[in-house]
């Protein structure tokens, strides 16, 4: 097809996306891709993750698939929900204090980001969860893409009431096909709510996994997130925590685990909108083979947001010489009385530590595993639910063993 008026040459992935968006009635989103194409390295926030190069094909929109009811993680007593090929379903009755429903349309705040436009453009109905005080079961949402290669855009909107406590786990799995998953989660924390939100990408390697998590924290709310990329060859998760109420605090954490041929990207933009809030973004990347791990972290502090305390950190551990670990910290600070910073480190397993363990009789492979686990401990140890922490350690061990 000749498009003399457009400077951007569109590939098969873009043509497919444009058709899907038009079919869904999302003409604006379709138009944006028609004009600009998928973001390339020339778009600043995609500099290290050139989608136009990395995403060569987008399969047809998913058809409803047979439900597979087994949750991805074995968490005793968890309340399990599934979203399979975009279709939400509930298993059993919800525990007291949890209300499951649906809301129309997408859940994400509009931003200048192609993946967000696509998600908002394609999602017609989102699953909603309302969590009142007094719920102590883990809520596990298994988001799956089953069957032949499919494109899925789904969304989840969660409200955790004032004073409520919740542990929410999302897993991304499915058949091993060239799926494209574009997932959205909007999570609002009421006043003094305390929430742990864990997401784990365990998709097959051929899947391209995209997720956007938006968080809204009211006064005194405490959030801990842990984003783990341990599946797809191409994974990118956006995190947008917004400290909207005084005293809010977020521990925003994430882990890229990449092996030969994989590319994982966590891109965060934290917004401190009011005075006296804090955030501690801590990310780690472990690479082996020829692979790439990216963490971008931007701290935005509004003019009024005095006494903001925020530090972004990314630590990389290279288990091979051929991998790339990339960090991009950014500070955008409009208030003057704040403590904000960023840092990044990158290295190999410490030889002296390894020798110390060997000298006590621990064989090399086991010693290396202990050190890698030690490197990650800072992310997993703060997860208070023991079964969940153990399940996450299990995922990490599986990844480590797969490389041996």
């Amino acid at each position: 097809m000749v498009r003399p008026n457009f400077p951007v040459r569109l590939g098969a992935a873009e043509e497919a996306l444009i058709n899907q968006l038009k079919f869904a009635g999302a003409d604006q989103a379709a138009e944006r891709i028609t004009v600009a194409g998928l973001p390339t390295r020339r778009v600043e926030s995609y500099h290290y993750t050139d989608l136009k190069t990395l995403l060569r094909a987008v399969p047809p929109m998913a058809q409803p698939a047979n439900q597979v009811d087994v949750p991805a993680l074995d968490l005793p007593g968890s309340y399990n929900l599934t979203i399979v090929n975009g279709v939400a379903s509930q298993q059993g009755t919800a525990p007291a204090g949890v209300t499951v429903g649906t809301v129309r349309g997408g859940v994400l705040t509009t931003r200048d980001d192609t993946l967000i436009h696509i998600n908002n453009g394609l999602v017609r109905e989102a699953m909603s969860l309302d969590i009142a005080p007094g719920v102590d079961q883990i809520i596990q949402i298994a988001r799956r893409i089953e069957g032949v290669a499919a494109h899925v855009a789904d969304a989840l909107k969660i409200f955790v009431a004032d004073g409520a406590t919740a542990t929410i786990v999302e897993t991304f799995t499915g058949s091993d096909a060239a799926h494209v998953g574009n997932h959205a989660t909007y999570l609002a924390l009421g006043k003094d709510a305390v929430v742990t939100h864990v997401t784990v990408d365990l998709s097959g390697r051929d899947t391209s996994h995209f997720a956007t998590n938006e968080y809204h924290l009211a006064d005194g709310a405490k959030l801990r997130t842990l984003i783990i990329h341990a599946g797809s060859d191409l994974a990118r998760t956006h995190l947008y925590p917004r400290m909207a109420g005084q005293g809010a605090h977020a521990d925003v954490t994430g882990l890229n685990l990449v092996s030969e041929g994989q590319h994982a990207d966590i891109t965060m933009e934290t917004n401190h909108a009011v005075p006296n809030t804090s955030s501690q973004p801590l990310f780690k990347s472990i690479t082996r083979g020829r692979s790439k791990a990216v963490v971008q972290g931007k701290l935005v502090v509004a003019r009024d947001a005095q006494k903001t305390d925020a530090k972004f950190m990314h630590q990389g551990l290279m288990l091979s010489d051929d991998a790339e670990i990339l960090s991009k910290p950014e500070l955008e600070i409009y208030a003057d009385d704040v403590v904000c910073g960023h840092g990044s480190t990158c290295g190999k397993l410490d030889e002296d530590s390894l020798f110390y363990l060997l000298s006590r009789g621990i064989p090399k492979a086991e010693a290396e595993t202990m050190l890698v686990r030690g490197f990650i401990a800072e992310l997993v140890d703060p997860i208070e639910n023991e079964a969940l922490a153990e399940a996450l350690n299990g995922i990490i061990d599986t990844w480590l063993l797969a490389g041996k």
């Binding site: 002296d352 020798f355 000298s359 006590r360 621990i362 202990m370 050190l371 800072e378």
Partner: protein, 253 residues
């Protein structure tokens, strides 16, 4: 003749292009405690690392037998399982690795390598408590990550506690006395002495004679510029303390 626990023959080792060990000869029979004294920089820690299997060194000549077996054919972990233990001059801090997890992994790895069954948790806990009590290593220290935030003295006590748990046939103690106050020195020495059983051998490396009042050696060796230059009984340590290392060449210590 019984097989020595340790036999070092004409050992030469270098790091990068620098020769550090220049022909070490040493035989330690079962049950004996030998001390090595020498000024800083003479190569004592290098000897301990070469014995334990640190990879930074190139062995250019000589051989080392542990209970009759050539250790240069074994990795560091295999040497440990074969009965070698090094108490580090500077124990390594390892954040994220819980001390208990580490102790259990070490003990069970050695047992496994020797064809013994792994220890069940209650049995393991009992052994750790026992060794811990002896060396004033309390449960608070055991709950922390390995050596992290330990004071100098706590690190040394933790090393000897590991030794008490792992029960090696040859313990190499590298300046275990440095950084210890007199109380800690007594605790550590008591721990070491309680492991002397007529079979287990020790190589005690120290800069000062003080330690040897507490851990009384059978033989004292003077180490200078990468080799043993004199050997004698424990009175040699007193002589060194009085006269310094000046008689052994190089600058004064």
């Amino acid at each position: 003749m019984t097989t020595p626990v340790l036999e070092i023959r004409n050992l030469h080792a270098r790091i990068e292009d620098r020769e550090i060990l220049k022909g070490v000869n040493l035989i330690i029979p079962p049950g004996e405690v030998h001390a090595i004294m020498g000024r800083n920089g003479s190569g004592k820690s290098t000897l301990s690392y070469v014995l334990a299997g640190k990879e930074d060194y190139e062995i250019t000549e000589g051989e080392v037998l542990l209970n009759g077996k050539n250790i240069f054919e074994m990795g560091a972990d295999e040497r440990a399982a074969a009965g070698l233990f090094l108490a580090f001059q500077y124990p390594i801090e390892i954040p994220g690795v819980a001390t208990m997890t580490f102790l259990k992994a070490a003990l069970n790895a050695q047992r496994k390598a020797r064809g013994e069954d792994e220890l069940k948790t209650p049995e393991f806990m009992r052994l750790v408590k026992e060794a811990g009590a002896q060396l004033n290593v309390d449960s608070d220290m055991l709950r922390r990550p390995l050596n992290v935030g330990f004071s100098g003295g706590e690190k040394k006590r933790a090393e000897i506690m590991q030794m008490a748990l792992l029960k090696p046939s040859l313990a190499v103690l590298d300046e275990t006395d440095s950084g210890l106050d007199i109380d800690a020195l007594q605790v550590v020495s008591k721990g070491v002495n309680s492991l002397r059983d007529g079979q287990r051998s020790m190589l005690v490396i120290t800069h000062y004679q003080r330690l040897l009042n507490h851990i009384v050696p059978d033989v004292v060796h003077v180490f200078s510029d990468g080799r043993i230059v004199e050997s004698g009984d424990k009175s040699l340590a007193l002589k060194l303390e009085a006269e310094g290392y000046a008689n052994y060449g190089g600058e004064a210590a």
